[in-house]
């Protein structure tokens, strides 16, 4: 078993100064959404961190998440993180293929049993495993096998975290999330379609420094998924003032008003998009004039339509209401006719009241 070097040793070997390291830790604190004052503690933790082995599994996915992390705006930081870890298996990035690749995975598992980190990208087809296999083995098998010796699992992207697009109705492959299958390991969900690159690296950094971060009900690190976009959105004041874009090309849209009525899912979507933003902090969908799709939420694809406001019912309620009016009118008329019948019958049976029979016979 190879002895993995401490990060501080790796850095010293690269001639990185302490000041540079502190600068890096300050940035890392920011990336991890931790208070800046925690930078020295991050430094301490990193100094003691050993390079863990990471196995990256790709199941039913579009590789968008890998694209996102490799195209991240801050290559140096990611490089440093990846230098910190030992990416022993990543079928998109690694040079090895076929049996060699599988051998690498098995070797990494054997050497680091109980300590390695599994990163999963993509959902797992359970109804029909044939939809996604590699080396002739189903995703389900590979996941179970690999997870068995893992210290923890990080799901990257909404597919791995919650089933994502493959899981959208009618879910032909029977796609499932990692957490549906693996229940005995810590799972850190990093949803998003794709997740923000620095969020992915931030979660990895947190795992390296402080272990499994604090998670919300849906297994997401609270540091990145604690708030809904709506609460951190710079367009929020327009929502509060009642100023909305009604269409994509009206005055409100041009003036940058709230996109709620265009279907923005910001009010129910947990993510740091509004603060961290994308492409190196340039913008995020709402700033670019498009409503949030809610991609960090389970079943976001089945939320009733991207352009349907959250307050609008999802069913064909108009037809049902119209039907209801019709049924009500018919039944009501029938009921009223019965009532008229009661009246007519009463009139027919009318017993004339005479002044002499007002008193009840005793």
């Amino acid at each position: 078993m190879k002895t993995r070097p401490l990060l501080s040793e790796t850095m010293a070997a690269h001639g990185v100064s302490r000041r540079t390291f502190m600068k890096y830790c300050a940035t890392l604190a920011s990336v991890m959404a931790l208070p800046p004052a925690l930078a020295p503690r991050i430094a301490q933790a990193l100094e003691r961190a050993r390079r863990p082995s990471v196995i990256w599994l790709s199941f039913q996915e579009c590789t968008g998440c890998t694209e996102s992390i490799t195209r991240s705006h801050a290559p140096t930081i990611e490089e440093m993180i990846f230098n910190t870890i030992s990416l022993d298996y990543q079928d998109t990035l690694q040079a090895a293929a076929g049996h060699q690749a599988e051998a690498a995975r098995h070797q990494a598992m054997k050497e680091n049993y109980g300590k390695y980190l599994v990163v999963v990208e993509g959902s797992i087809p359970v109804a029909n495993p044939a939809y996604s296999c590699f080396a002739g083995r189903s995703n389900l098998d590979v996941l179970k096998e690999t997870a068995a010796g893992a210290a923890a699992i990080v799901t990257v992207g909404t597919c791995a975290a919650y089933g994502g697009i493959p899981h959208a109705m009618p879910n032909p492959t029977g796609a499932r999330a990692v957490s549906d299958i693996i229940t005995d390991k810590p799972i850190i969900n990093v949803p998003g379609c794709p997740p923000i690159p620095v969020v992915m690296t931030g979660v990895l950094a947190h795992f390296l420094t402080f272990g499994v971060p604090e998670l919300d009900d849906l297994g997401r690190p609270k540091a990145f998924y604690g708030d809904v976009i709506h609460d951190r959105c710079y367009r929020r004041p327009f929502y509060d003032k009642g100023l909305f874009a009604e269409t994509f090309d009206d005055e409100g849209a041009r003036a940058g008003w709230c996109l709620y009525k265009l279907g923005c899912k910001g009010p129910t979507t947990h993510s740091v998009c509004a603060t961290v933003k994308w492409n190196g902090g340039v913008s995020f969908p709402i700033q670019s004039g498009h409503p949030c799709l809610g991609c960090t939420q389970p079943d976001f694809w089945d939320g009733g339509g991207f352009y349907k406001p959250l307050s609008v019912p999802t069913g064909d309620y108009r037809a049902l209401a119209a039907g209801g009016v019709g049924v009500g009118a018919v039944v009501g008329a029938a009921g009223a006719l019965v009532g008229r019948g009661v009246k007519a019958e009463a009139a027919r049976k009318h017993e004339t009241v005479d002044a002499h029979d007002l008193e009840k016979p005793s």
Binding site: G339, A346, V353, A355, L358, E359, K360
Partner: protein
């Protein structure tokens, strides 16, 4: 035919229509009708909440006229209306309601509660739950010509006295005249001065009029009891007399429910529109005033106030007419609080005054009128309903109040300028 629960419920069923259904559907149990009700106000007893007085009728409506209620009835959720219920409700429907109509005007959802009490009384009377004094009055009125028994001799005597007093002839049964005048028994017996007053005013205005010997009684105990069958018999006497005499119109006297019975219920009881006009004496006086045919001389200088009879103002639509007449003859006219359409009831209408067991309640209810009067402290109270006049006088005696009460027609006639010109 005998009074029975089935006859009563049947009569109630006949009364339920779209307005009743909408009223019961709309009620939100806010209780504001109670705040408007003179009986609740003066007793603060929640039994007198107007809408509660209709509970048996509401249950009948739910059980038999709504789908959900029918289902509820099958499931035993809506109790049927029993004879005991009606018995229990008799005092609420007859003793603690004068059909004054204040609740109808305050109900925020617009329920005409008064109309429903009137309808409810149809069922109550048919089921044999009518106060005995009202039954007696009905029997007397049906059997003779007035609720007080045969009033024909008394009326002739009053007419004779009036003719002697004014020198103006009053003819019985004269066909083709302008108006046929009817009188309430209260006027015939207690306030006959109205005859002289009308005689002088009509003479001055050049109006010819007559009294029908077989249709002179204006009151209609059938309306108070809530029996269309009896009310029809009584109103038909007047209608038939007017039609036989071929008069232009019938003058409804200073009597609240009489105006209600002939003017608003009459055509519906008879099932046909009349070929003569029904006009309230005060409406007619105001018309004469407008035409300049009511010259007056002098004015009452003492402080005078006015009591609006419920059936004539709130339920009858005569609100501005009496005030224009008051302005003509009273120089110190003050309105009480809530005067006009929201004026407080004297407490004696709707058959309550005749109902012995309601006496205490009626006198309690009068405290509201008393407070109104005490606030403006008038020398004189004018009204335009002989029964209000009677109720107020009686109650004032009870409370040792000394305010003169006078009918409006009589009051106006006091200042009529009917001396021959140049005399």
């Amino acid at each position: 035919m005998t009074a029975s629960l089935e006859r009563g419920l049947n009569a109630l069923r006949e009364q339920i229509d779209a307005p009743v259904a909408s009223f019961f559907t709309s009620c939100v149990h806010c209780g504001l009708c109670a705040e408007a009700c003179v009986f609740y106000r003066e007793t603060e007893d929640p039994r007198y909440i107007p809408i509660r007085k209709l509970d048996p009728m509401r249950r009948l409506w739910r059980r038999e006229f709504t789908l959900f209620g029918r289902i509820g009835a099958m499931l035993g959720l809506v109790r049927p209306v029993t004879d005991a219920d009606l018995g229990e409700w008799e005092t609420l429907v007859y003793d603690s309601c004068t059909l004054c109509g204040r609740c109808t005007l305050v109900c925020p959802v617009g329920n005409d509660i008064t109309l429903m009490i009137r309808k409810m009384r149809e069922g109550m009377s048919a089921a044999g739950h009518t106060p005995k004094e009202l039954i007696g009055a009905a029997v007397r009125h049906v059997e003779t010509n007035s609720l007080m028994g045969n009033l024909a001799p008394a009326l002739r005597a009053q007419v004779k006295r009036s003719v002697a007093e004014t020198g103006i002839d009053i003819g019985f049964d004269q066909p083709g005249v302008d108006y046929m005048v009817i009188l309430s028994a209260q006027e015939t017996m207690d306030y006959p001065e109205i005859l002289s007053s009308m005689a002088r005013i009509f003479k001055k205005a050049g109006i010819s009029w007559t009294i029908a010997s077989d249709g002179f009684e204006a009151t209609n105990v059938g309306v108070q009891i809530g029996s269309r069958d009896i009310a029809r018999i009584l109103v038909a006497r007047v209608v038939e007399a007017a039609e036989r005499l071929g008069v232009k119109g019938v003058v409804s006297p200073e009597c609240g429910h009489a105006y209600q019975a002939l003017r608003w219920e009459g055509p519906n009881l008879m099932g046909r529109a009349f070929n003569f006009e029904v006009v309230h004496i005060v409406e007619l006086l105001d018309r004469l005033r407008a035409e300049g045919k009511l010259p007056t001389k002098g004015m009452e200088s003492r402080r005078v106030t006015f009591h609006d009879p419920c059936q004539i103002n709130r339920r009858g639509g005569i609100d501005r007419e009496p005030r224009r007449l008051m302005a003509l003859v009273a120089s110190d006219f003050v309105e009480t609080d809530d005067a006009g359409a929201m004026n407080w009831c004297c407490g004696g209408g709707g058959g309550v005054g005749a109902n012995e067991r309601a006496t205490k309640l009626r006198l309690t209810a009068f405290k509201r009128k008393k407070a109104q009067l005490e606030k403006v402290n008038p020398d004189k109270l004018i009204t335009m309903c002989a029964y209000c006049h009677h109720t107020i006088e009686e109650a004032m005696e009870e409370y040792h109040m000394e305010i003169e009460v006078q009918g409006l027609t009589d009051f106006v006639a006091t200042y009529l300028d009917d001396e021959p010109a140049g005399a």
